[in-house]
Symmetry: C2
Subunit: 293 residues, 2 copies
């Protein structure tokens, strides 16, 4: 350590320590701890990168532009967190599941709190657009016992890749959303439409960064679920279509191998009739295993 | 490595690698390198902090608010860079000087390009407010030889802690600024007013963070210099008053021990007359040593 560092002045060598010791008066011990980790990694990153003054200014302008893109309807910093894998990492840290329990993935921005309760078998597609799909499965505990009455909140994009809230007036309200309750055998089933891949909003600084990184903005087709039952941890997850062109390159890193379900095409007339459709449909079977609280 | 990681899916364990390998198609090799360092440190920091979802959202909202505070007149992200020591670190990395050369410090936001050229000895204080000050010294090379004709661009806050550009209409234009040329002996001298400590703008998210960290927003009193001469590296630096109450706690970490100059009170009538003042004044002597290019 140099003389200057010993006397508490900032030097290139002791830069992180100089800042961390200045923050030692933080009242909230958690803030102090968080800032210590952030300052340490921030300074280490700057020392590895050795940015020019021009590169530093470019970073300042990127962060500024990302904030200024945010509005009531757009959260560009969450997109930045998503495409850098931070959102999925925070999800993973907060949802470590015991072996055998279904894995979680990100909530995403399109969930709404007040989706209507529906009866098992109802069609959540209110505008008859898209390829019909029947989804079925069971809600189980880790021992394989059914969880009767489990609450299943599902939502999905339509066959053009848009959620109802993105197309107000174009789609019926609450299109492709519903809250179901598992029956006594822990079973659930509902009808919807085969989902389609879609881009995250890419007309802002984050989309520009994705482009510069040689990356596309697409998320592979998926269904969203929140599953709740008394005595169990709430599960926030997706079901993915393994045949989607973007299944190995989800822009937000949400795909987990255990969350893929086959979207099986069905054209057997008896099964079509039993499912309540007029023609061929896709059938998706996916069970969910909840971890006890 | 788990099976999922081997197949390229994102897991808590391989999170940084999953993101870095996705960015491998970046066209610009520098962007790829910079993003790799950022992603590695970002994920390492998240793993150490283990933020809750609520803390993650708080961070998102802080970054958003910092961007939204920025305007044509306010750069809150530069302030964030300043109070975390990043600006000084980038300055240090870009201005490693040979032994004996004067050290650099941050430029700050108040420099203007077109300050007027003045004659040696001119008073840059245009409104006669504050305690008179005479500043003098020499511009030298590392061997101690004078650098005749060196360009010395100086600017300072007034005795209330404001720069002219912060008080348009209240201070004369170009108050407390001037460009001087060293004489044949490498000497410079000019008159001004004793500067005062002042706060960085602290009514935004960065000021709130400073408060939560138990820190004040003040910079100790200083004079700004940019010194240029043909064949030498341009020097951007300050001269600090070592008796300032904030000399050991500059909010932006700009103080270096080598940049302190004594502000000596002078009341000897002969020296007062020689300096061209009406009464007691402060004399500051500071030489600057430029590194060869």
């Amino acid at each position: 350590m140099t003389d200057a560092a010993e006397q508490g002045y900032f030097t290139e060598e002791n830069s992180a320590e100089a800042v961390i010791s200045r923050n030692s008066g933080a009242e909230d011990p958690r803030l102090k701890e968080v800032m210590e980790v952030i300052v340490r990694h921030l300074h280490a990153a700057v020392k590895e990168i050795e940015p020019t003054q021009e590169e530093w200014m470019k970073a300042i302008m990127f962060l500024t532009g990302t904030g200024q893109m945010c509005s009531e309807w757009r959260q560009e910093y969450i997109l930045l967190s998503d495409i850098t894998g931070v959102s999925m990492l925070v999800d993973a840290i907060n949802n470590r599941k015991p072996t055998g329990a279904t894995e979680s993935t990100v909530l995403g921005p399109f969930h709404i709190e007040d989706a209507p309760e529906r009866a098992l078998g109802d069609d959540i597609c209110l505008d008859q657009k898209g390829e019909p799909m029947l989804v079925r499965g069971r809600i189980l505990d880790i021992a394989g016992n059914p969880i009767p009455g489990a609450k299943i909140d599902v939502w999905q994009a339509n066959d053009e890749g848009f959620y109802d809230v993105q197309q107000k007036g174009l789609q019926p309200d609450f299109n492709l959303r519903g809250v179901f309750r598992a029956n006594e055998a822990g079973e659930y089933w509902f009808r919807g439409v085969k989902p389609r891949f879609y881009p995250i909003p890419d007309d802002g600084p984050v989309g520009k960064l994705l482009g510069a990184l040689g990356r596309h903005p697409f998320r592979p087709a998926h269904l969203h679920y929140i599953i709740e039952a008394s005595g169990f941890e709430t599960l926030v997850t997706h079901v993915f279509d393994p045949d989607d062109p973007y299944i190995h390159s989800d822009a937000v890193f949400g795909v987990k191998e255990s969350l893929m379900a086959r979207f099986e095409p069905v054209d057997d007339p008896a099964r079509i009739k039993e499912a309540g459709f007029d023609g061929p449909f896709f059938e998706v079977r996916q069970d969910f295993v909840l971890a006890a609280q």
